[in-house]
């Protein structure tokens, strides 16, 4: 059995273990969940190291490949007559995403340390969700990919609906339905590709070897791009995201903004761009414009927000726009930037939402205008918040800088299928959003943490507890490591991006 299967078996087994805990001992559940996710985190780190070794040993020249090379592969026939297989394997991109997911879920459990209400179901659904996310990243078979994709989306409904705040039923339903319409589009596209390739296999790499007709790619590409784009908060299908994030409980926001939205970008890269280069060339301009709007609109919308969660959610829309923008530039640099941005934004936004949950637990309000002077009482949380904010506005030394500068370079280099001037105008517009980001981040943070204390009860606040310190500490450290020494991440993903970039 491949090690990869453990990545879905361990979270699922942990979910079952959580369900089996006795009623009276609710605190046992968080330890079980922490243990399970801790094992997964360790496993994912070990695997990424050994992935690097395997790739180095294999050697060879990746610059001529046009088909992704998977490692740790395992393939078991499933529905043979349809050519469906349980086929798992990873390349560097998937490996990076797996590490990201493992970090986020581990810190997510730490951030939800105090969940007592119906904690059995909470941890169980959370772990099922993560099972689905890991499943997507390890799938090589498109059917399996789609199956796990839906498994990852559905528990969100209950997690938001039961444990959320505010207009939770509305947000939960909106989120679920919009994402499911997205996956309906993906389904149409993937079935069309499957039959065009001879109805023999769902293997992504075998599907990639087929030359699809121009006409087919012309309509399937936008279907799949938009389908996954909904989850990646593509304008104008991003509207589920602010409501969903604002209503979700802390760990779920972390996981959702940190990992689940990356499934959208990952799907676009792995299915739309990888399988349909012709379609990508034809539609590059259209989606480039949409994603530019994404970036700029998200940033401007964030300025106007007074609720901390909406604020971060719109900032996420803007930052996820960078991922899709990078993918639309259709060159090596752009793809690389997109993947780095997925990782970097995942960690950063996980940190943001984790911190918002922690601050909200203390201040009982998320309204920016009512908060002030908190840094006096909660220096640890305030410092972490500032670091997250600085990463978000792309300060060198933190991972956001690496990601965004790569994306912009990719956009500026452009490609042969989009007019160079248009490309550069879009890139410039996108780059200008950094300034807007600086405005809203610095203004928002200084309002919350600086100045005089606005409410007397704030003076009773306690700084971070040990689980909270651990949670934020891990995330800040990751931001800094990737920011200071980007090769950690770039070496991991570069080998995997070449085959995709070579198709253009």
């Amino acid at each position: 059995m491949s090690w990869l299967s453990l990545l879905i078996l361990i979270p699922f087994a942990t979910a079952l273990a959580v369900v089996a805990t006795p009623d009276s001992k609710w605190y046992l559940r968080r330890w079980v969940a922490l243990f399970g996710t801790g094992v997964v985190l360790a496993l994912s780190l070990v695997m990424s190291v050994s992935y690097m070794q395997v790739v180095q040993q294999r050697g060879g020249d990746a610059s001529v490949l046009t088909i992704s090379q998977m490692e740790f592969e395992q393939s078991i026939p499933w529905f043979k007559s349809m050519g469906i297989e349980y086929h798992v394997g990873v390349d560097g991109i998937a490996m990076a995403m797996i590490v990201l997911t493992a970090i986020i879920i581990f810190t997510g459990v730490l951030a939800s340390w105090e969940v007592k209400e119906r904690s059995r179901e909470f941890y169980a659904f959370l772990l099922v969700l993560v099972t689905g996310v890991f499943g997507v990243f390890i799938s090589v078979d498109l059917f399996l990919f789609f199956l796990f994709y839906e498994v990852a989306v559905l528990p969100m409904y209950l997690l938001i609906g039961v444990w959320g705040t505010g207009r939770k039923e509305y947000s939960a339903m909106k989120l679920t339905l919009m994402l499911m319409v997205g996956s309906a589009l993906v389904l149409v596209g993937m079935l069309a590709l499957y039959h065009a390739a001879g109805s023999q296999t769902f293997d992504l790499n075998k599907l990639a070897m087929v030359d699809y007709s121009r006409d087919l790619q012309q309509w399937v590409f936008p279907c799949v791009f938009v389908g996954f784009g909904v989850l990646g908060a593509l304008f104008p299908f991003h509207t589920w995201s602010p409501d969903g994030h604002a209503s979700a409980p802390t760990a779920v926001s972390m996981l959702h903004a940190g990992v689940l939205m990356k499934l959208g970008g990952y799907g676009v890269l792995r299915v739309a761009v990888y399988l349909m280069p012709e379609g990508a060339k034809q539609w590059a301009l259209f989606f480039l414009v949409l994603t530019t709007i994404n970036i700029v609109y998200g940033a401007y919308a964030a300025i106007r927000q007074t609720d901390l969660k909406y604020f971060t959610a719109y900032s996420s829309v803007s930052h996820c726009g960078f991922v899709l923008f990078g993918l639309c530039s259709l060159n090596l640099m752009g793809f690389k930037g997109a993947v780095i941005q997925m990782f970097s934004h995942g960690i950063m936004t996980g940190l943001f939402f984790g911190l918002i949950g922690m601050v909200y637990g203390r201040s009982k309000t998320r309204d920016l205008t009512q908060m002030g002077g908190l840094s006096k009482r909660i220096p640890w949380l305030a410092t972490s918040f500032y670091i997250a904010g600085l990463a978000s506005l792309g300060l060198p030394g933190l991972s956001g800088f690496v990601a965004e500068s790569t994306v912009f370079l990719g956009g500026f280099f452009g490609n042969r299928w989009v007019d160079a001037t248009t490309m550069r105008i879009c890139t410039l517009l996108a780059t200008s959003s950094i300034v807007v980001t600086a405005v809203y981040v610095l203004r928002g943070l200084s309002r919350v943490f600086q100045g005089p204390m606005t409410k007397p009860e704030f003076s009773q606040m306690q700084d971070a507890t040990i689980p909270e310190k651990l949670c934020t500490g891990i995330l800040v450290a990751t931001l800094a490591i990737v920011g200071m020494y980007p090769p950690v991440l770039i070496d991991l993903i570069e080998h995997a991006i070449l085959p995709i970039a070579n198709r253009f």
């Binding site: 498994v151 499911m180 389904l187 069309a192 039959h195």
Partner: protein, 480 residues
């Protein structure tokens, strides 16, 4: 002998009827185990025959093949689960609510009628002669009229029965007219000869339309679905459960016989009409289900939309395995959901959607089972409903009906919306004050256990689909 499952069911029916006549009332409770035993034996013998391979009886008048085997498995499963689900009502285990009369009477006769109906469906898929086919269709329909109106003192039940019988009888006549036309066009009553002789022309079109109208009634295809909501509402709930699966499966069996054996040559000429019928059925069923407040009517519209997905399989010549598989999946999944509805109605007397609030606290396991059942109906992985729908969508995509795949997939999302309404009541809304924990009877637990396990296993273990595929993908070729 290839007819032995049918014989077992008939013998059981008469045995139960005899027990009802000669046993004193306090011993009549024994009829339930006898009935279960008979159905299980019949199921076992069907499985045995399927392992043995194809065969025929009475000079080919009765044909047992892979497709027939799987249909019979579905019918018998539906029958077994219905017997289990009706046990509580027959035993008088239900909460008495003023203004509601829910007890089922005449245990033995009830079982006998169900079993006769089952036999009709079982013969239906094996008949190779037009006249037998029609008689079997009638046998698979007429007992249902009685079952729907079983609570004769309940005006709703009687009204439902009346509505059902009037529409049913009318549409039987239409089917008969269509079959008559087909006979006239082909000059034979043997299904295979008919298929060879038939060519596509205006009269054939008319005949197909008439037959589809009649079968559309059984399968609840829009616009022949009008009866469904009222009949499901008025019928005793286990009967509604039976109606939603067995009657539909029988309609599908009839369609298989006609579409593949008689109309096999012209099937692709009508695929556009089938696609439109499927799209209209699933869309209307889903949209109307959104606004329902009563779970029975809700399930009626949900069942209508499922029929829309089901007939997508007719779009390509090799869609038979997907349809047979989905039918099996649908039978167990719908029985899971109906099982919980029966349980909840019996224990609390409630049947409105908003009455399901707090079920996750009063009985978390049952709530989980209902959630899984609803998710499977909506096509959420890794449950079998997802796999089944995926295969059906794949058939439509293969036939080039990409727009239909899009319509169907969007419809799945709409259906998720209304299935989630129940999930929301169970998990999110606060429950009733002072509701005690609910306990399920042995028969309900057995029914739910069996059907839930099957629902999950069918989607994960490839054995079932692969076997169905092997045994049925050549069905069209071999049926000529």
């Amino acid at each position: 002998m290839y007819i032995q499952p049918e014989i077992i069911v008939v013998v059981t029916a008469f045995a139960v009827l005899g027990m009802e006549m000669f046993l004193p009332p306090r011993h009549r409770v024994l009829e339930t185990p006898v009935c279960l035993l008979g159905l299980s034996t019949a199921l076992a013998s069907v499985v045995y025959l399927m392992i043995q391979g194809d065969g025929n009886f009475l000079d080919g008048q009765f044909l047992f093949d892979g497709v027939a085997g799987w249909f019979k498995v579905s019918f018998l499963l539906a029958g077994l689960l219905t017997v289990l689900l009706s046990a509580d009502l027959l035993n008088g285990r239900f909460k008495i609510v003023a203004g509601q009369d829910r007890e089922l009477i005449h245990r033995g006769e009830f079982y006998t009628v169900v079993l006769f109906n089952l036999v009709g469906s079982m013969f239906l898929i094996s008949a190779t002669n037009l006249i037998n086919l029609y008689v079997c269709l009638e046998l698979a329909t007429i007992p249902l009229f009685a079952l729907v109106a079983w609570r004769r003192n309940d005006p709703l039940s009687c009204e439902a029965g009346l509505k059902y019988i009037i529409l049913g009888a009318t549409l039987s006549a239409v089917v008969l007219f269509g079959l008559g036309l087909l006979y006239g066009l082909s000059g034979s009553v043997d299904l295979f000869t008919m298929g060879d002789n038939l060519s596509f022309g205006p009269a054939t079109k008319l005949a197909i339309a008439m037959v589809v109208v009649g079968v559309g009634f059984k399968l609840t295809l829009v616009p022949f679905h009008m009866w469904a909501a009222d009949v499901y509402r008025g019928a005793p709930l286990p009967v509604a459960a039976y109606l939603s699966v067995a009657s539909k499966a029988a309609g599908l069996a009839f369609m298989f016989q006609l579409f593949y054996r008689v109309l096999g040559n012209v099937l692709l000429d009508v695929s556009m009409a089938v696609a439109v019928l499927a799209a209209v059925t699933m869309t209307l069923g889903n949209l109307v289900a959104v606004v329902q407040t009563n779970v029975k009517r809700f399930m009626a519209f949900s069942a209508i939309s499922q029929a829309g997905y089901l007939i997508m399989g007719f779009l390509a010549p090799d869609g038979a395995p997907s349809m047979v598989y989905y039918m099996l999946v649908y039978v167990v999944t719908n029985m899971v959901v109906f099982g919980v509805l029966v349980f909840y109605l019996n224990e609390t007397g409630r049947e409105e959607i908003e009455d399901y609030r707090g079920l996750s606290r009063t009985n978390p396991w049952i709530a989980l089972v209902l959630m899984l059942g609803l998710f499977s109906l909506a096509g959420i992985p890794p449950l079998s409903g997802f796999v089944g729908k995926f295969f059906l969508f794949s058939v439509a995509s293969k036939a080039g009906f990409h727009w239909l795949v899009a319509v169907a997939a969007v419809n799945s999302t709409i259906s998720l919306y209304y299935y989630l309404r129940i999930v929301r009541q169970m998990y999110i809304e606060p429950g009733f004050e002072n509701d005690p924990p609910l306990r399920a009877s042995v028969s309900i637990v057995t029914a739910l256990g069996v059907s839930t396990v099957l629902m999950v296993v069918l989607g994960i273990v490839p054995f079932f689909y692969e076997t169905i595929y092997e045994q049925t993908h050549n069905w069209i070729a071999s049926s000529h």
